[in-house]
Symmetry: C2
Subunit: 170 residues, 2 copies
Amino acid sequence: MSAIQKNVEASSEKYSTSFTKGDLALPPAKKYLVLTCMDARIDPAAAFGIELGDAHVIRNAGASAVDALRSIVISEQLLGTTEIVLVKHTGCGMLTFKNEDAYAAVEKSLGAEAVQELHAKHLDFLPFPQLEKAVEDDVEFLKASKLVPDSFAISGWVYEVETGKTRRVV
Amino acid sequence: MSAIQKNVEASSEKYSTSFTKGDLALPPAKKYLVLTCMDARIDPAAAFGIELGDAHVIRNAGASAVDALRSIVISEQLLGTTEIVLVKHTGCGMLTFKNEDAYAAVEKSLGAEAVQELHAKHLDFLPFPQLEKAVEDDVEFLKASKLVPDSFAISGWVYEVETGKTRRVV
């Protein structure tokens, strides 16, 4: 067992011993979803004030709305959410590369077969060159999608990894 | 401003006031990533023992490895992670429907144009009928993928929303 796997077991033992929220319902109590980045420096529950059971939390590289669409449709259509809080962040890795850089990195470290798998899956890494613009673009994408009801409240934010602050963009 | 947006602002004010982790590096300090479900009843940091800055956290509907592949490749190739902890959970919404149910729900509430968008995007909602089997299948998918190095440690777990416990499956 790796050190990380041991840490999961020890943390679970500690967490479950004082766990008292075993009767929460499946649908989010406050009917919203948060979409943010997978970045290690973000703790959505603490930074954005999400109580256990209140909201779906979707996380991927760059907080991409395009990538999250499957999960968003399930959240709204099958589990009753009606609002989206989208949060990208300063210092995001997605600001630092282009698709061709990622393809080159894969080819160098994993070889030609891996690159073929990228092409076969039409994999777009969805990097973005400008942070605020990317927040605006993703909110626009969600507002324009037929798969998100017009009645949805959708807000876009930036979390500052340097200060712990979350500020509204749109 | 909605009540949820006000809560983000108030929570951010409180969080940032006592924030002391503004100098964490972009790559995860412990070089691992956690892939889990967007379910509102999961707090990965607390339940799985993730300290701020230590790990990427990817979350989507059902903790799908297929859906997470873009983020996983970025995590490993550009940000140096070498281990995956995959956690699905009891009572998952993905156990309760099939693709055709989701397509029907979209058609009923959003109309024919929305269903056309689903078809145009070839959207597979990736539900699964059996929990442990789904954990095993996703770990197998990652191990078989040319896009995940053979050297990766990959473990599969189930989080119990009833008890707060996380148990190893594979």
